[in-house]
């Protein structure tokens, strides 16, 4: 099947990584059912990986259009702050959620307009919100950690549904929903086409401007959801640290997912596996009990190994090497036969 073939490298990397972590921390795969909840390191990965996985969904679409969205970490902080402020103002759960999501959509609209209407390069356009946005979040929280007690809202960060943590459901459903939307409608094709050749697509009648704005808004919405998860989890909006550097992990997840930064063909599922690979590394390093100062170095090393193994050049070399050996062996066998 083509989907399986597409995501095979990511799956292999994930399985190999899980095997590696299981060696240094044997209990990694053990899952228990306690008080109606699944508990275990793997469940922890699926929950803690939620923010990056959510960001990776939107980031995959943006990157498919040959863009990039550096502002998603900051949008998380703004949306979390807006939702927390709404709760603190006595708005109740549903309006607070809506305010957070709308803020994400507005942030995406801003990015999309800068990129398409004004024509700023995506890197620079989203860099503006990335640097400015944390200031906005700090203004909303008035520089402190804005806490709340609404248990309904907190459920989005720490609740459980059918045994699984709610954040895990959120990214699984968002990912599946967006992936289906892309492939069951023509959106996926149109996004790939503007990512590969925007000019030719526009000449063929593809509405590149509207599509691009929609894609940045989708990324903003994904970031808003991630921000709500993080805020709900700690029951407070931390403008300084919520989503800090997560845009880079999200981009990394998309790249590990085998999606080209030059745009075009994309796979959301592969990006999601990429996000899980990153979280498995993070959690695995913690569980293995390395001193914390080694964390980033080990993470970088593992990511490097995964990306090198995935690179087309290595794949070509490997095929060459394999074929030449096959030829050698056949030649030898022939020699014997003679």
């Amino acid at each position: 099947m083509t989907l399986l073939k597409r995501i095979a490298p990511q799956l292999i990397a994930l399985v190999a990584l899980i095997a590696l972590v299981s060696i240094v921390f044997p209990g990694f795969l053990s899952v228990q059912f306690i008080d109606g909840r699944l508990v275990g390191p793997v469940i922890d990965v699926v929950k803690r990986g939620a923010p990056v996985a959510l960001l990776a969904v939107g980031m995959t679409l943006v990157i498919a259009t040959r863009g990039i969205d550096l502002s998603v970490g900051t949008i998380m902080a703004i949306c979390g702050a807006v939702a927390a402020a709404a709760l603190a103002g006595g708005w109740g759960m549903a309006p607070a959620l809506a305010a957070g999501m709308l803020t994400g959509a507005a942030a995406g609209l801003w990015n999309g307009v800068l990129v398409t209407v004004i024509g700023i390069q995506p890197f620079v356009a989203t860099l503006i919100l990335m640097t400015m946005g944390r200031g906005i979040a700090q203004l909303i929280t008035e520089g402190r950690i804005l806490t709340f007690t609404d248990p309904g809202f907190a459920w989005f960060g720490s609740g459980t549904l059918l045994g699984l943590p709610v954040p895990a459901w959120l990214w699984l459903l968002t990912g599946a929903g967006v992936a289906l939307l892309m492939r069951r409608t023509a959106l996926g094709l149109l996004i790939e086409s503007i990512g590969i050749n925007r000019r030719a697509s526009a000449l063929a009648g593809v509405n590149a401007t509207v599509l691009l704005i929609a894609v940045y808004m989708a990324s903003g919405l994904c970031a808003a959801l991630a921000g709500i998860v993080v805020t709900a989890d700690i029951r407070g909006a931390d403008a300084n640290n919520a989503g800090l550097w997560l845009e880079l992990d999200a981009i990394l997840a998309v790249v590990i997912g085998g999606n080209s930064l030059l745009g075009g063909r994309f796979s959301i599922i592969a990006s999601l596996i990429g996000a899980m690979i990153i979280q498995t590394i993070d959690t695995g390093i913690l569980l293995a009990g390395f001193p914390s100062e080694y964390n980033l170095v080990i993470k970088a090393g593992l990511v490097l190994v995964i990306l090198v193994l995935q690179s087309p050049r290595i794949a070509a070399e490997w095929r060459l090497w394999r074929d030449s050996h096959r030829v050698d062996r056949e030649a030898r066998l022939e020699g014997k036969a003679r």
């Binding site: 409608t185 086409s193 697509s201 000449l203 063929a204 509405n207």
Partner: protein, 499 residues
């Protein structure tokens, strides 16, 4: 003889780009190099400047054999080049650009003051008094072009190649650049001048060499040449040739009008024109490269919206402000440069064919996969697109097959007015005839088609009526018995009043 080229040959996979070309350049002359696209002009120039290595033949500069392997080597030998796009650094100052790479030094560091004074001295030779500390980009393209010439001459100093240096200049600026070029000629440089503007060729040059299909057709003194003769050489078609009147059928019969454009124009792109298109009619657009053919199509399709004028059909005025609007009016446009404007390389042939139709239906109504397959297979068969299957990325097809797939994209949308810009360029002879036959089929079914082509025989064969474009103006309309190769060429060549 300053530069002497003998039987220069250059092959690329599948094509013989230069086929034993001879070319002589005297010191103190401006020598025009002419030819339509694909004639071999740029290949010849690139062999001279070291961008390409020649496969055969000899090049002698002042009697000594040379074989430059890079542009730097060619410069050191004395051959400098100035391109259409100014090839300098707009965000550096004029002085830095002029002295780039050979700045005067003091204690091992760049001596800024000496750089400036040397730059000023250089420009004075050209009668220019500029602020050399200003960024190059702040000056007009003409000034930048002269600075590029000054730099090239300073670096090389024997042969100067001007590759369409005037393409983006207005008339006054052209004269400014020409004055500089004439000054250099009088100083004894040999100058090769490539341009599509015949007026400029007659204005500036001493001799003309015409290339066609990689061969040298002729070299003549400009003074002995007339326009018609020159265009005959360029297009390879003698005026005395008998012209079959293939367009006789339908000529004369009145077709119901489908569209009319009135005063359609855009400043600096194409002068306002009137054009009406009949139902089922093939209108041809003839003219040399850069004359305004493609620009006419781009205005009609909203790629560059018209600033003046209106377009109507029987039901009223049409909005043609962008390609989507034009498509909504039932327009289609298969552009000349299919690589950048036509294909979406990584997508499959199937996806490329259905792309336009899908965009028209909107994202929410995907074309069912079975329907996509049927459309793709249908057009692959009808247009004889050579491929191992519909799922092959279109970027892997040959040029002619890519062109057919782009055509299929538009046919799948069934437009009422289809614009084809050079539909047969780069297509083999068999496919060529097929595409012309296809155009006839489409118009028999009621579609109206605008065909832009450099091949006059092709236009005569396929068009009911031919509009001739020259110097960004529609200058003649030929139909019926007046529609023939001779007439088209005369209209292209005519320098004065409307034919």
């Amino acid at each position: 003889m300053l530069l002497s080229i003998r039987s220069l040959t250059k092959t690329f996979p599948g094509t013989l780009a230069l086929d034993g070309v001879d070319f002589d350049l005297r010191a103190g002359e401006v020598h025009a190099l002419l030819g339509e696209n694909g004639a071999g002009k740029s290949t010849l120039i690139k062999c001279l400047t070291g961008a390409y290595r020649r496969d055969g033949g000899t090049v002698a500069l002042e009697g000594a054999q040379i074989d430059p392997r890079s542009t730097v080597e060619a410069q050191d030998l004395g051959i400098g080049t100035v391109y259409q796009e100014v090839n300098l650094l707009p965000n550096l100052t004029v002085a830095q650009n002029l002295m780039f790479g050979r700045e005067p030094r003091r204690f091992g560091l760049i001596d800024a003051r000496a750089t400036r004074s040397e730059a000023r001295a250089m420009l004075r030779q050209y009668g220019l008094d500029l602020d050399v500390d200003r960024d190059l980009g702040s000056y007009s393209v003409a000034i930048q072009q002269i600075i590029a010439i000054a730099r090239a001459v300073a670096l090389s100093g024997k042969v100067l190649i001007l590759d369409e240096p005037t393409a983006s200049l207005d008339a006054a600026e052209v004269q400014m650049v020409f004055d500089v070029v004439r000054g250099l000629r009088d100083r004894g440089l040999g100058i090769v001048f490539v341009s599509h503007f015949l007026d400029q060729v007659f204005d500036l040059t001493d001799r003309v060499t015409v290339l066609r299909n990689g061969r040298r057709i002729t070299t003549l003194d400009t003074a002995d040449l007339d326009r018609v003769q020159l265009i005959e050489h360029m297009l390879g078609r003698a005026l005395e040739d008998a012209v079959g009147d293939a367009a006789a059928d339908g000529a004369g019969s009145v077709r119901p009008e489908l569209l009319s454009f009135q005063g359609f124009g855009r400043r600096g792109v194409i002068e306002p024109f009137d054009l009406s298109v009949g139902q089922g009619e093939v209108v041809g657009l003839a003219g040399l490269l850069g004359s305004g053919r493609t620009e006419t199509a781009e205005l009609m399709f909203g790629v560059r919206p018209a600033q003046t004028g209106k377009a109507h059909d029987a039901n009223g005025q049409l909005d043609l402000s962008n390609p989507r609007a034009a498509i909504a009016q039932g327009f289609g446009f298969a552009p000349e440069d299919r690589k950048t404007d036509g294909i979406v390389p990584d997508l499959s042939i199937r996806e490329n064919i259905i792309l336009g139709l899908q965009a028209q239906r909107g994202w929410a109504r995907p074309i069912p996969r079975a329907e996509q397959n049927r459309l793709a297979d249908d057009y692959i068969r009808r247009l004889d697109i050579r491929t191992s299957g519909r799922e092959k990325p279109i970027g892997e097809l040959s040029g002619g097959n890519q062109q057919k797939a782009v055509l299929a994209r538009w046919l799948a949308m069934n437009p009422r007015f289809l614009i084809l810009d050079e539909p047969t360029r780069g297509i083999d002879v068999g496919a060529h005839a097929e595409i012309l036959r296809l155009i006839r089929e489409l118009t028999d079914a009621g579609m109206s088609v605008l065909v832009i082509s450099s091949e006059i025989d092709e236009l005569v064969a396929v068009a009911d009526r031919v509009i001739v474009v020259r110097d960004r103006r529609h200058v003649a309309e030929l139909k019926g018995t007046r529609l023939g190769g001779d007439e088209i060429m005369r209209a292209i060549a005519d320098s004065g009043e409307v034919a």
